[in-house]
Amino acid sequence: MARFQIFVTYKKGIFDPPGATAERALVSLGYDEVSSVKIGKFIQLEVADGTSEERVAEMCGKLLANPVIEDFRIEPVEEA
C-alpha cells in the first residue's frame, strides 16, 4: 500500500469566498495580524504499491481538482 497526500488550492487570482469570510471573521475576533486566509482541500489517497506520482497527477487533473480554477500538490507519504 502506498499513500499520497494531495493539497488542492484555488489558482492565484481566483477569489476564495470561504477563505475571505474566515479572514474577515478572524480579524473581527481581534486577530489583526491576519492578512490572508486561503481554504483548500486535503485528500489522503491509498493506492497499490508502485503507483506512480504521474498516475496520481492524472487522477487529480481528471477528477480531484478542476484545472480551470484549482492547483494541486502531491506529496508521497513515507511509511515510518
Binding site: 481566483i14 477569489f15 469566498p17
Partner: protein, 231 residues
C-alpha cells in the same frame, strides 16, 4: 419536439422541466444517467439539483456518468443541450462550456427571483430581443461564474454571453448586479456554436402561468422554433 431530461442521482428539477415542456405542447421524457442511447430526442436538458451530493465539486462526478459521453457526442454534432443550475455546473465540468462556478460570494444559498438582461448572442436557446429583461428564479449555492480574462474576451467577441444579472430596471450596479458575485454579472453562457447553453436561473419554473408569469418560456420556445425551421 421531444426533450430528453437527464436524471442523475440527486437531480431534483427534472419534473419541473418535463412539466414546462408539456405546458408548451412538447413531449418530454426522462433519461437515466446510466443510459447511453439518446435516439429520438431533439434536445437534451441537464436539470437542476445536487447530482452526486455535489461531492468533490458540483457536477464533477455527474460529468463521468455513462450518459454524459453521449451528451458530449450529441452536443458535438450540433444538437441542442441546455444545463440549468446544477446542469450548468455539469456542462462546465465536462468542458462543454468554458469557465467554472464557484461558491457564492457571501457564502449564502440564494433562493429568490432576479432580473437578467438578454445579451446579443449566438445562443439557439435565446431568440429574444437583446436588451429585453426576464424575471427568473435562482436557487443555488455555487453560481459565482469565473473564467480567465482571455476566455471572457473571446466569449464576448463570439457572442457567447447570453444572460447578465441586472437591477430590476435593467441597469447594472457599479459593484456588479450578480447576487452571487459572478464575473461580469454573467448568468448564462453558450458555446461558440450556440447549441449548448448553461444558465444558473431556472426558466422551467416560470413557464406555467399558474406559477405567476411565463418569462422562462422563451428558452424552450426558442429552441423549438429553431428546430422547426432547420427541420
Amino acid at each position: 419536439m421531444r426533450f430528453g431530461v437527464v436524471i442523475f442521482p440527486g437531480s431534483n428539477c427534472e419534473q419541473d422541466v418535463v412539466h414546462a415542456a408539456h405546458v408548451l405542447g412538447h413531449e418530454a421524457d426522462y433519461v437515466w444517467h446510466g443510459d447511453t442511447d439518446l435516439a429520438g430526442f431533439d434536445a437534451i436538458v441537464l436539470p437542476g439539483g445536487f447530482s452526486y451530493g455535489d461531492y468533490i465539486r458540483c457536477g464533477a462526478v455527474a460529468r463521468f456518468s455513462p450518459v454524459m459521453a453521449e451528451v458530449v457526442r450529441f452536443a458535438e454534432r450540433g444538437a441542442p443541450v441546455i444545463g440549468i443550475c446544477n446542469g450548468f455546473q455539469i456542462l462546465a465540468e465536462a468542458h462543454l462550456l468554458p469557465g467554472a462556478l464557484l461558491r457564492n460570494q457571501g457564502l449564502k444559498f440564494i433562493c429568490k427571483e432576479i432580473t437578467v438582461t438578454v445579451e446579443k448572442s449566438a445562443c439557439q436557446w435565446m431568440d429574444a430581443t437583446p436588451g429585453s429583461l426576464l424575471r427568473l428564479p435562482i436557487n443555488h449555492n455555487e453560481g459565482n461564474y469565473i473564467c480567465d480574462p482571455e476566455t471572457l474576451a473571446r466569449m464576448e467577441a463570439n457572442g457567447q454571453i447570453v444572460l447578465r444579472y441586472c437591477e430590476s430596471d435593467g441597469s447594472r450596479a457599479e459593484g456588479g448586479s450578480a447576487p452571487n458575485g459572478a464575473l461580469d454579472d454573467i448568468a448564462g453562457i453558450c458555446n461558440e456554436r450556440g447549441n449548448v447553453f448553461g444558465l444558473m436561473p431556472h426558466p422551467e419554473r416560470v413557464v406555467d402561468p399558474a406559477t405567476g408569469h411565463t418569462d422562462g418560456a422563451v428558452v424552450f420556445a426558442s429552441i423549438a422554433r429553431r428546430l422547426a425551421e432547420v427541420g
